[in-house]
C-alpha cells in the first residue's frame, strides 16, 4: 500500500476511484437535486451551466450534476457485479485447467477460447433481443464475455506455479491438490488476478456505458452515464454540456481504474518487489 502511494500515477488513479466510491456512497446527500433521477421539469430544459445548475440541465430539465452523481453508484455496482461474477467463473476454471493435464484441461481452455472469441457487443445485443433489454441483460452479457480473461490469467499463473519448487515440496510433504491450489497457488496468483480485476472494472464501466448508449443497457429514466450521452445526441451541438459531463465522468472513472491497474501490475512484478 505504501509502495503504491509512492507511484504518483497509480495514486492519482486510486484517488479517482476513492472519489467515485465516496460519491457513490453518499450520492443522495451530495446531489443538489436528488429527485432529478426521475422527475422532469420541462420548463427548465437544456439550460447551460450556471450557478444554479453547474453542469446545466438536460432535455427534460433535470440537473445533470445530480444525475452524474446519482449515476456513479450504478456504474460502480455494475462493474463490481460483472467483475465479481466473471471471477467466480474464471478463477476456478483457470485453477482446474492449469493444475490438471489432459482432456479436462484441454476442454476447459477450448471452451474459454470460444467465449473469448464471442464479441461482447454482439452477444449483449443478441441477449437483449432474446431477453428484455435492460441493465441485467447487459451485466449478464458482460460477465459471460469477461470471465475468459480471468480463466486465462489464472491458467497461466497456475501452470507457472505448478512447476514451482515450493509446490513440489508441498506435494512431497503430502499436501492435497485442493490445499495446494487454494492456499498456495491462489494467493500467489492473487496479484495477477487483482490487476486483471482492476483493469476489468474500467473496461466494464466503459462497455456498460457503451451498451447504455446503444440502448441495450440501462433503460430510461435511470441516471446512466452512457444513456445520458445517448440522449444528448439529438441536442448537439447546441447543448454541449449535456453529453460532456457524463462523458467526463466515464472517462475519469475508467482512467482511474486503468492507472491503478497499471500501478498494481508494476507492484505485482516479483522482480520489482524483490529489489525494494
Amino acid at each position: 500500500m505504501r509502495r503504491l502511494l509512492r507511484d504518483p500515477v497509480a495514486t492519482l488513479g486510486f484517488g479517482l476511484i476513492l472519489l467515485a466510491v465516496f460519491v457513490a456512497l453518499f450520492a443522495p446527500w451530495l446531489a443538489p437535486y436528488p429527485d432529478d433521477a426521475f422527475d422532469s421539469h420541462l420548463l427548465q430544459r437544456l439550460r447551460p451551466p450556471s450557478a444554479e445548475f453547474p453542469f446545466g440541465t438536460d432535455n427534460l430539465g433535470r440537473d445533470i450534476l445530480s444525475r452524474v452523481i446519482l449515476g456513479t453508484r450504478d456504474a460502480l455496482t455494475v462493474a463490481l457485479a460483472v467483475v465479481g461474477a466473471a471471477m467466480l467463473i474464471g478463477v476456478p476454471v483457470g485453477l482446474v485447467a492449469g493444475w490438471r493435464e489432459g482432456w479436462l484441461a484441454e476442454l476447459l481452455m477450448r471452451v474459454t477460447d470460444v467465449f473469448l472469441a464471442v464479441p461482447q457487443l454482439i452477444l449483449a445485443l443478441a441477449l437483449g433481443q432474446l431477453m428484455a433489454p435492460g441493465i441485467g441483460t447487459a451485466m449478464l452479457a458482460l460477465a459471460l464475455t469477461y470471465w475468459p480473461f480471468f480463466a486465462r490469467t489464472v491458467f497461466a499463473e497456475t501452470r507457472r506455479l505448478r512447476g514451482a519448487l515450493f509446490v513440489d515440496a508441498l506435494a512431497g510433504i503430502g499436501a492435497s491438490p485442493a490445499r495446494i491450489l487454494l492456499l498456495h497457488v491462489l494467493p500467489n496468483a492473487a496479484p495477477a488476478i487483482l490487476v486483471r480485476a482492476t483493469i476489468g472494472m474500467g473496461f466494464t464501466i466503459l462497455t456498460a456505458a457503451l451498451l447504455g448508449f446503444l440502448g441495450v443497457g440501462a433503460a430510461p429514466p435511470s441516471p446512466d452515464w452512457g444513456l445520458m450521452v445517448s440522449e444528448a445526441r439529438q441536442h448537439l451541438p447546441e447543448a454541449w454540456w449535456f453529453p460532456t459531463f457524463p462523458g467526463l465522468a466515464i472517462f475519469l472513472l475508467v482512467l482511474g481504474f486503468n492507472l491503478l491497474g497499471d500501478g498494481l501490475r508494476d507492484l505485482a512484478d516479483p522482480r520489482l518487489r524483490r529489489s525494494r
Partner: protein, 317 residues
C-alpha cells in the same frame, strides 16, 4: 563402514519412465539402504539421480519394480510411506512459499500430518528451530528475508517436523560457501544421531560424499554401475566410470590422477547406447561391451560392479 543394520529402504529393478515418450530415466535400479547409514548417490547431471529420489519418495510413478520401506511394500501414493520418507530440495529457498511466513510453512506440514493443536504445533516448531540452530523468532519472517544457510536449515526443520525415518538430501551443500557447507554437514550429522535418521545423499560433489557417506552408489544413465562402502570405493574403484569421476574431482595436493579424464557428454536418454551404456566413452571398452550389458558382480561382499573388465584392470594402473 558401520556394522550392517536392518534394511530400511530397498528398491528392486526399479524402472521409471518420464513423459509421453516414456524415456527411461531410471532403468532397472536396485539398491538397499540400511537404517542409520548415510548412503551417497553420485553421478553426472541428468543421470537419473533426482528421478530415482522422486520415485523413492512416491512423487513419481514407477513403471516396474518394487520399493519396500522397513520390509513393507510402498505404494506410490501411500501417505504413511510419504511421512517416513522425506525430501530436502536442492534450492530450499524456492521450496518455501514466498507468501507464507516461515512459522506458517512449518506448521502446515504438521497440520497435513494430523497435528492440528496450535500449542503443540508451536512447541514442536520452536523445539525444531532450536535443534537446527535457528532463533525461533525467525518463524515470523518471510522466506526472502532469510540467508541461504538459514533457508537450508528451515528446509531441514520443515522435513524433520514430520518425523521421517529416511531423509533424501538433494545436493545439500550446493550453492553454499565452504564455511556454511561445513556447518550444514555438521548439523546434518548431529540431527542424524539425535533423531535416528537415515540419509540418502544425492550429490555430484565427491568431496562431500567422501566426508559424510558410509556407502555410495554410482549412477550412469539410469543404471547403477558400482556400489560399495565409501572407503573401499574411493580406495579401489572398479568401474571405469567411477574412476573417471574420481579423476575428474580436483585434488587439493595437485597430484595427477592415473585414470584418463572423461571425454564428451553423457548420451541422451533418447539414444541410449546398446550393450554397456558407458562403452562409447569408456577408455577400456572391448567389442563385447557394445553388444552385451554387463551383469552386476560382487567384488567383495559389500561392493558390486557392473563391468565386463573389472577383474582385468587394476584400479591403480
Amino acid at each position: 563402514m558401520r556394522c550392517r543394520l536392518a534394511e530400511l529402504l530397498t528398491a528392486q529393478d526399479l524402472v521409471v519412465e518420464l513423459g509421453r515418450d516414456r524415456l527411461r530415466a531410471v532403468d532397472g535400479v536396485s539398491l538397499s539402504i540400511a537404517a542409520g547409514e548415510t548412503f551417497g548417490l553420485v553421478g553426472e547431471s541428468g543421470c537419473g539421480k533426482t528421478t530415482l529420489a522422486r520415485a523413492l519418495l512416491g512423487l513419481q510413478g514407477v513403471a516396474a519394480g518394487r520399493i519396500t520401506l522397513a520390509g513393507a511394500t510402498v505404494t506410490a501414493t501411500g501417505r504413511a510411506g510419504r511421512a517416513a520418507v522425506q525430501y530436502v530440495h536442492q534450492d530450499p529457498g524456492a521450496a518455501l512459499d514466498p507468501w507464507w511466513r516461515i512459522g506458517a510453512t512449518l506448521a502446515e506440514g504438521l497440520t497435513i500430518h494430523g497435528v492440528t493443536d496450535r500449542a503443540e504445533q508451536q512447541a514442536r516448531i520452536a523445539e525444531m528451530l532450536a535443534a537446527v540452530g535457528l532463533d525461533p523468532a525467525l518463524g515470523a519472517r518471510f522466506p526472502h528475508e532469510l540467508s541461504g544457510g538459514q533457508q537450508r536449515r528451515i528446509g531441514i526443520a520443515r522435513i524433520l517436523l514430520l518425523r521421517p525415518r529416511l531423509v533424501i538430501l538433494d545436493e545439500p551443500t550446493a550453492g553454499l560457501d565452504l564455511s556454511v557447507q561445513a556447518a550444514v554437514l555438521r548439523l546434518l550429522a548431529a540431527l542424524r544421531d539425535r533423531f535416528g535418521l537415515t540419509y540418502l545423499l544425492i550429490s555430484h560433489d565427491l568431496g562431500v560424499v567422501r566426508r559424510v557417506c558410509d556407502r555410495i552408489a554410482v549412477m550412469y544413465l539410469g543404471r547403477i554401475v558400482e556400489t560399495g562402502a565409501a572407503a573401499s570405493l574411493f580406495a579401489a574403484p572398479r568401474h571405469p566410470y567411477t574412476r573417471a569421476l574420481l579423476a575428474a574431482a580436483p585434488h587439493l595436493d595437485g597430484r595427477e590422477s592415473a585414470a584418463p579424464p572423461l571425454s564428451g557428454d553423457p548420451p541422451s536418454l533418447r539414444a541410449i547406447p546398446g550393450g554397456c551404456r558407458f562403452h562409447p566413452r569408456c577408455p577400456i571398452a572391448i567389442p563385447v561391451c557394445a553388444t552385451t550389458a554387463p551383469a552386476v558382480e560382487n567384488v567383495t561382499a559389500g561392493h558390486q560392479v557392473a563391468c565386463h573388465r573389472w577383474q582385468e584392470e587394476s584400479p591403480h594402473a
